[in-house]
């Protein structure tokens, strides 16, 4: 077996007394779309933060391209090729939509593109890619909710990542918008980027993912093909509770 692009080994993260993620291991293969689901508070966002480096694991290891990056700070992980979006959108409100994305191109993988003009061109391409091409000159805080979700995607894509970690990029969108975002993520994968998607919309993630990972109370309770995972009694119980007999 070839080494996975991304691997998390026995990761645990405690916040004071609370164990947000407990002994979770998983891999992400080259070119794969991995769905990460679980009820509210299951530890999904914490797990993504352990990978992107905004949080450090209390125990366990994170490996990228076969090398441990557990002690590598967030900005250097970004330069290695790990891009993420935030569930609570974090645009740079005072900058234009274009310049928000240009920051990703200026830094990003391999240290980024030092020339502002070229970075802006790359940013424009990313905005076209996610369907925000018309809004380049607006201020980021003038965008609505769905626009900001796409902006988060464009910012991460401008970094030219090898792995894209999407934290609920579909939450709060309507059916049409969800379809459009799914289309974007498929196109991202077609470019050879591996994707880890956190999502609540089960239908959407079932069709999008190659594989599903389920977290519950910080522990991994299932990992496998989407259809099989969603039929798994433990997973059904986590979402709906125990069937009374």
């Amino acid at each position: 077996m070839t080494t996975a692009l991304l691997e998390v080994r026995n990761a645990t993260r405690r916040f004071a007394g609370l164990v947000a993620v407990h002994d979770v291991s998983f891999t992400l293969q080259q070119g794969e779309i991995l769905g990460l689901i679980g009820p509210n508070g299951a530890g999904k966002t914490t797990l993504i933060s352990l990978v992107s480096g905004t949080l450090a694991p209390s125990e366990g290891e994170v490996l990228f391209q076969g090398e441990t990056i557990t002690a590598v700070p967030a900005y250097r992980r970004a330069r290695l090729g790990i891009g993420r979006t935030f569930q609570i959108m974090r645009p740079f409100p005072g900058l234009s939509v274009l310049d928000n994305v240009a920051v990703g191109a200026l830094f990003g993988r391999g240290g980024g593109q030092p020339k502002l003009a070229i970075a802006r061109e790359q940013a424009r391409a990313c905005l076209d890619f996610v369907g925000l091409g018309r809004f380049v000159d607006q201020r980021a805080d003038e965008l609505g909710g769905p626009g900001r979700k796409r902006l988060e995607l464009a910012k991460a894509l401008a970094m030219q990542p090898k792995v894209l970690l999407c934290d609920e990029v579909m939450a709060g969108l309507n059916h049409v918008e969800i379809e459009e975002v799914i289309e974007v993520i498929r196109k991202v994968r077609a470019q050879g980027i591996s994707v880890l998607v956190i999502e609540h919309v089960i239908k959407a993630i079932k069709s999008l993912s190659d594989r599903l990972l389920v977290l519950h109370h910080g522990e991994k309770i299932a990992d496998g093909a989407p259809a099989a995972v969603l039929d798994n009694p433990t997973v059904v119980e986590a979402y709906l509770g125990k069937r009374r007999t």
Binding site: S52, G53, T54, P73, A74, Y75, R76, R77, A78, R79, G83, R84, F86, R90, P91, F92, P93, G94, L95, D99, A102, V103, G104, L106, F107, G108, R109, G111, G112, P114, L116, A119, K155, A156, M159
Partner: protein, 315 residues
């Protein structure tokens, strides 16, 4: 930047540079003071306006720059330029060593921590014999206001060009990203700690140079005046009045507020401070985002711009 911008800037600059040859002594002295304040406001703009860290420690850099020149010239009999270099080195060492620590703090906590630095420096310097303890140092006088004026003007041009470069460079975008959202900046690959310390040091460089020029001009220096907190408050007010995070805002703020202050102290001598306070309060209430924001928005909203700001304050 359009060609006519360059032309206007060029004409303005030549006019300003020629001022000491046709202006009165008082005007030249007012000019030196204002230009140095504008440099300080512009320096603060780098760390406070662009990086979003409201520093109350810039007066420490100013003080270190002053003492660098004073110690080098009085105690070691070195030339003025060597003193400036010494002061800049002190400021940058200070920014790098303490910046790494205090720049971990955000918002109010950063402001309070840097506020304390100035107090600490006053106490430390008052006990160093080399720095003249609390008696201070008297520098060899140089009666050449034209020279000081041109030095201050040159320094302001240098500081402004640096800020202009920020708006067009990767480094500047990194700083703005930190100001807007520090965690977001980090996951996009910005080395936030390094960038913040560099911005702090860059602000320190200009403040120290301004302090060095001022010390040689005034020819006297003691710890109280070198590490004066009210000077730091002044540079913040000027930068914010003009528009923080803009290239020309701090200059406009420094010039207009200096002029108002000068006018008031000649018109209503005793109660000038009171009126100056009223001007500041009115500015904060009516235009909290500075003059630059008015220029950008007032043509859209007209006088309602001010009403909106008043309402935003819930007055």
């Amino acid at each position: 930047m359009k060609p006519w911008h360059l032309a206007v800037a060029g004409v303005l600059l030549v006019g300003l540079a020629a001022l000491p040859w046709f202006g009165s002594d008082t005007l030249v002295q007012f000019g030196i003071n204002t230009l140095l304040l504008a440099v300080l406001a512009q320096g603060w703009n780098i760390i406070g306006g662009y990086t979003g860290y409201a520093s109350f420690g810039n007066s420490v850099f100013y003080g270190l720059g002053s003492y660098g020149v004073a110690i080098a010239m009085v105690q070691w009999k070195l030339p003025f330029a060597a003193g400036l270099v010494f002061g800049v080195v002190l400021a940058i060492v200070f920014a790098c060593s303490l910046g790494a620590a205090v720049l971990r703090l955000r918002g109010h906590y950063f402001a309070i921590a840097t506020l304390a630095l100035a107090q600490v420096m006053t106490a430390i310097v008052s006990n160093i014999p080399l720095a003249g303890q609390n008696v201070g140092l008297v520098l060899p006088p140089l009666n050449n206001d034209r020279l000081f004026y041109e030095l201050a003007l040159g320094l302001l041009v240098l500081a402004t060009l640096t800020v202009l470069w920020l708006t067009k460079s990767r480094f500047g975008f990194g700083l703005i990203a930190i100001r807007e959202n520090e965690e977001g900046a980090a996951v996009m690959g910005v080395n936030t700690t390094l960038y913040k310390v560099l911005a702090f040091a860059l602000a320190g460089l200009f403040s120290a140079l301004a302090g060095g020029i001022h010390a040689y001009w005034i020819t006297f220096l003691d710890p109280e005046s070198a590490f004066d907190i009210s000077l730091n408050v002044k540079m913040i007010i000027m930068a914010v009045f003009g528009g923080p995070g803009t290239v020309l805002g701090p200059i406009v703020g420094a010039v207009s507020l200096s002029a108002v202050s000068e006018f008031l102290s000649s018109a209503v001598t005793n109660i000038a401070g009171l009126f100056f306070g009223i001007v500041i309060v009115a500015a904060v209430v009516l235009m909290p985002r500075g003059l630059a924001d008015i220029v950008r928005n007032v043509h859209k909203t007209g006088w309602r711009y001010f009403m909106q700001n008043i309402r935003a304050h819930r007055l």
